[in-house]
């Protein structure tokens, strides 16, 4: 069974087309990252999946129901970008309240432990630091033991350490066979925490696959070495090279065939030191995919 099916969905706000002809099927148990720059349509997609926005055209089903029905049945938990906390309540009270809205919630202690909030349980939720508040919001999202967890840029306000613990908590929750969808523009987060990455740009899906597939689809690798004071002339004529960049004493070649480029490099007569061949990181892959739309 599929957790989410999106069929030919479109959504505009006034004259702005936020999402166009979107098709997406997410099987139960998958962790999917929705990756894209600001304005790509990620938040609109998330809003529609949660029943907070209605598509202008097309259909969305969440566990076979309309999104709002799935939400009403307690199958969905969400962490929204602007989901602030209510004033005047302790962490334990807010989490306990949201937990009580769901038919089969997690035990309160387990929620607090998973979100690393046990020590903060008696503190006022509106008086916590940014990172701590995000943990409370994560606790609210998982409180009802939802089968689908939707997170819209969950780590936006977090420092590096909070991010690490956050993703560890998220993976622990996902391990129970739950379906996760998170929107992010942090590329390494998508790489490290998702089984599948869907890249969005200008309201459309421009790539869909595993992190490795996304990278290979973008295709290129980089070959870098210390050029020193040797001439860079001729590097652009080596087999496979599509770009040459000189940064200080280092030459960085972008290549569609790293093996041929390296072989050619050694035959060129140059003294090659500190040679390094790398797959383009996801960031580069992502830029390729989102800027090359013609």
């Amino acid at each position: 069974m599929d957790a989410i099916t999106v069929t030919n969905v479109a959504k505009s706000y006034g004259t702005v087309r936020a999402v166009e002809s979107l098709d997406l099927t997410i099987p139960v148990g998958q962790s999917l990252a929705l990756l894209g720059p600001n304005g790509a349509g990620k938040s609109t997609t998330v809003s529609m999946l949660l029943g907070l926005a209605r598509p202008d055209a097309g259909a969305i089903e969440v566990f076979g129901d309309a999104p709002s029905t799935a939400v009403a049945r307690g199958r969905v938990g969400a962490m929204l970008q602007d989901g602030a906390l209510v004033e005047g309540l302790t962490v334990k009270e807010v989490v306990g309240f949201v937990r009580g809205l769901y038919p089969e919630p997690l035990p309160l202690d387990e929620i607090l432990a998973t979100a690393d909030l046990t020590d903060l349980a008696k503190r006022r939720a509106d008086k916590l630091s940014g990172g701590q508040r995000q943990r409370v919001r994560f606790a609210l999202a998982i409180a009802g033991a939802p089968k689908l967890l939707v997170l819209d840029e969950p780590t936006a306000a977090m420092d590096v350490e909070s991010r690490r613990t956050f993703w560890a908590s998220m993976r622990a929750y996902a391990a129970g066979g739950r379906t996760i969808l998170f929107a992010t523009h942090y590329l390494e987060e998508a790489d490290e925490n998702a089984d599948r990455i869907v890249v969005m740009a200008s309201g459309r899906i421009v790539a869909d696959g595993s992190a490795a597939e996304i990278k290979s689809r973008a295709g290129s690798r980089t070959v870098r070495f210390t050029l020193g004071d040797q001439s860079a002339a001729g590097l652009d004529r080596l087999t496979g090279v599509t770009g040459v960049e000189i940064r200080g004493t280092t030459a960085i070649l972008t290549s569609t065939d790293a093996d041929a480029t390296t072989a050619g490099l050694y035959q060129s007569g140059l003294t090659v030191q500190n040679l390094e061949v790398r797959g383009a990181d996801l960031e580069e892959a992502f830029l390729d995919l989102t800027t090359d739309r013609g």
């Binding site: 609109t44 907070l52 939400v71 989901g83 602030a84 005047g88």
Partner: protein, 246 residues
């Protein structure tokens, strides 16, 4: 919905300064008016002693204030902060949010009515038939519904900065038009003709007639029910619409 109502009641009463002012204002005004008009004869229309008449006026004024301030600006602020949107990703449905908030605000209206009565009894020596008084408290409590619905409507339509002045404007307009500050008979004739159609005037009327031991008129009940239904019918979709707007 009940869990949400309980949560909101806890939040209302935990905000001590807010609760204090909401309850202190009608009591303060009661003591002020009662001393200003001390020695005047009974209110002509209802025949009630003035201190008793004013007790009902200020209990109405306090209950309306409590209902509006527990909803209006607070609701607008929670809408702007995203908390209400977050709530809408849980099984709690929009109608339950509106209903829960309305009922919670009634729990602030009740002490406003009780406190003014208590002060009237203790400080001004107001004595009323206990059954009549109990009926007044109970029915006025229920009849504070339209004002809570109005507060939610304001909170759904207006941003958090504008919500406070708009709420206060409605509060004063309702109080004056309803004859809670100045008897309706002293109002200019145009306002006087409107007064009978306002929920605040009918709200006060309900109290005045009950305290004098009479049954409220059918018109009073109908006007109050009509305002409740009308405002609730506007508030629920207005709230639902704000959630969908990005």
């Amino acid at each position: 919905m009940l869990t949400y109502t309980r949560l909101e009641i806890v939040r209302l009463f935990r905000d001590r300064r807010f609760t204090f002012f909401t309850l202190a204002v009608p009591v303060g005004f009661y003591l002020l008016w009662a001393s200003v008009f001390k020695g005047d004869g009974p209110e002509p229309k209802s025949g009630l002693p003035l201190a008793t008449y004013l007790m009902v006026s200020m209990a109405s004024f306090g209950a309306i204030g409590a209902s509006l301030s527990a909803t209006g600006q607070r609701f607008a602020a929670e809408r702007a902060s995203g908390w209400l949107r977050q709530l809408q990703t849980t099984p709690l449905r929009p109608w339950a949010v509106v209903a829960g908030r309305t009922v919670a605000s009634m729990f602030l209206a009740l002490p406003a009515i009780l406190l003014v009565s208590l002060i009237a009894f203790a400080a001004e020596g107001v004595r009323v038939n206990a059954l009549h008084w109990a009926l007044m408290v109970l029915l006025m409590w229920v009849a504070s519904l339209p004002f809570a619905a109005l507060g939610i409507l304001i909170g759904s339509l207006v941003g958090p900065e504008a919500a406070q002045p708009v709420t206060l404007g409605c509060y004063f307009a309702l109080s004056i038009l309803g004859g809670l500050w100045i008897p309706v008979s002293k109002l200019p004739s145009t306002l006087r003709s409107i007064a009978g159609w306002t929920p605040s005037n009918r709200f006060g009327n309900l109290g005045w007639t009950l305290v004098s031991g009479h049954a409220p008129s059918v018109t009073t009940a109908l006007v109050l029910v009509a305002w409740t239904v009308g405002l609730a019918a506007l508030a629920v979709p207005a709230y639902g619409r704000t959630l969908r707007a990005r």
